[in-house]
């Protein structure tokens, strides 16, 4: 319940944070801390230095930049749930953020922190992937941008380097698209056993284009590419999307644990995908 000792720096700017990171071989960044602090309390990790980026106000908030929304890494889940720009142009993020953990955690937890933590059962990773988000990363040599497909590397592993900081997430606007995040749990305070993030451009009962990503179906958020392709032009009905949704489990490598074996999760992925797509299409 009490973390091991660590040094602490509250950075006032990204530069200060980068500077602090460069001076320790065993530093961790803390933003909201909602994923990190349980790990420290249980002493499953004991970094030498904690660099607190939570006070860097420039990393907070949502703005428009042409065809994209730019979401500061420190923007909290609860802000994403209610933000007007997000709801208008990236509804899926708002829907997924509403399902993260619980109210208290959403008040502190951040979009950037959640993605950087890269728990494959995290809700925001698959939503970001479905939205074709890009991750803006600051390092000593300046900034670089990594697409979501390349950002999530493995279990708890991202494209972020040791001395880098995730500063912003750029999300192409999907204005007018429907969205749904279908999360399957046994009790409400659980991580999803499986969840499906879907955003759909539909008109007149027909799906023009769909973006679908899966949570907790492998070591990273996974794109349901075959499903997406098959949904193009499908009718937004149970029967219309069934065949496409049935492909959702293909190529996945879900975990087996207390809450279900891999086969069951693959089955769930197909059912939840169908439901998510239909809900996103407003059917």
């Amino acid at each position: 319940m009490i973390p091991a000792r660590f040094d602490y720096v509250a950075a006032a700017s990204v530069e200060e944070a980068l500077q602090a990171l460069s001076q320790s071989d065993d530093a961790k960044i803390i933003a909201g801390g909602q994923s990190l602090l349980p790990v420290l309390r249980l002493r499953l990790n004991a970094p030498e230095l904690l660099v607190d980026i939570g006070r860097i106000d420039s990393l907070r908030g949502v703005r428009e930049d042409g065809d994209a929304l730019v979401i500061g890494a420190l923007t909290t889940h609860s802000d994403i749930v209610t933000d007007d720009l997000v709801r208008r142009h990236a509804l899926l993020l708002s829907k997924a953020a509403a399902e993260v953990a619980d109210n208290q955690i959403r008040h502190r937890g951040t979009f950037g922190g959640s993605c950087a933590h890269a728990d494959p059962a995290g809700d925001m990773g698959s939503a970001a992937l479905a939205m074709d988000a890009e991750f803006v990363i600051a390092g000593a040599g300046g900034t670089r941008t990594v697409p979501a497909a390349d950002f999530f590397v493995d279990l708890f592993e991202t494209a972020l380097g040791e001395d880098e900081i995730l500063t912003e997430i750029r999300v192409p606007k999907k204005t007018g698209w429907g969205a749904h995040y279908e999360k399957f749990v046994r009790v409400a305070h659980q991580w999803p056993i499986v969840a499906v993030a879907a955003t759909v451009n539909a008109s007149g009962g027909t799906i023009n284009e769909a973006k679908v990503a899966l949570t907790n179906m492998g070591s990273t958020p996974l794109r349901a590419s075959a499903t997406e392709a098959a949904l193009s032009g499908a009718t937004a009905t149970e029967d219309g999307v069934r065949a496409a949704a049935d492909q959702a489990g293909e190529g996945t490598n879900p975990p087996s644990d207390l809450n279900g074996a891999a086969d069951y999760r693959r089955h769930l992925a197909t059912v939840l995908t169908r439901r998510a797509v239909l809900a996103a299409a407003g059917a």
Binding site: M1, I2, Y8, I30, L37, P38, L50, H189
Partner: protein, 164 residues
């Protein structure tokens, strides 16, 4: 040690703390505010819920140094100076929303946050709004009833205020 300055339950406080000290430990051990309790070590139970700058947080999941400069409100100062209970406290007693009472401080603080956001919630909204707080005694039935009743009390009070 890191120096922190906070406003806790309407008092300014300042201390040198180890960076690893959790906000809940700071409240309990440094300030003697034992009204806020610790029920788990994985941020599931919500017993330690307090308000940080007006929003509910789990104080076991915040470092005291992260709260530097913040305004913290706990169960201990929810009632008025003269002892007048907050409507949510009144409702929990009236509707028997507690038994052993260990989850109660967190449950009440989360309920206050919930009602601040949504003054007239449905039963479903109350249930979902309390998903971060575990109770082992009540089966939640009377907790949910308490929050709905508190909403009524607060609506009544605000109507009275408007009519005055």
């Amino acid at each position: 040690m890191t120096r922190i300055n906070l406003r806790v339950d309407q008092e300014n406080v300042s201390d040198d703390v180890e960076p690893r000290m959790l906000l809940v430990q700071y409240l309990r051990e440094k300030l003697g505010k034992t009204g806020t309790v610790i029920g788990c070590d994985t941020s599931n139970c919500g017993a330690c819920t307090v308000h940080l700058n007006g929003r509910s947080v789990k104080s076991c999941n915040v470092l005291a140094v992260q709260a530097d400069g913040a305004v913290i409100d706990t169960i201990e100062r929810l009632a008025d100076d003269d002892g007048t209970l907050h409507p949510v406290q009144v409702a929990f007693r009236e509707c028997h929303g507690l038994q052993c009472g260990f989850c109660t401080p967190g449950m009440i603080m989360q309920a206050v946050d919930l009602l601040n956001e949504n003054p007239s919630p449905t039963e479903h909204e109350v249930r979902v709004g309390l998903e971060g707080n575990l109770c082992r005694c009540t089966g939640y039935h009377n907790i949910v009833k308490s929050v709905l009743y508190a909403a009524e009390l607060m609506q009544g009070a605000s109507k009275e205020g408007a009519n005055a």
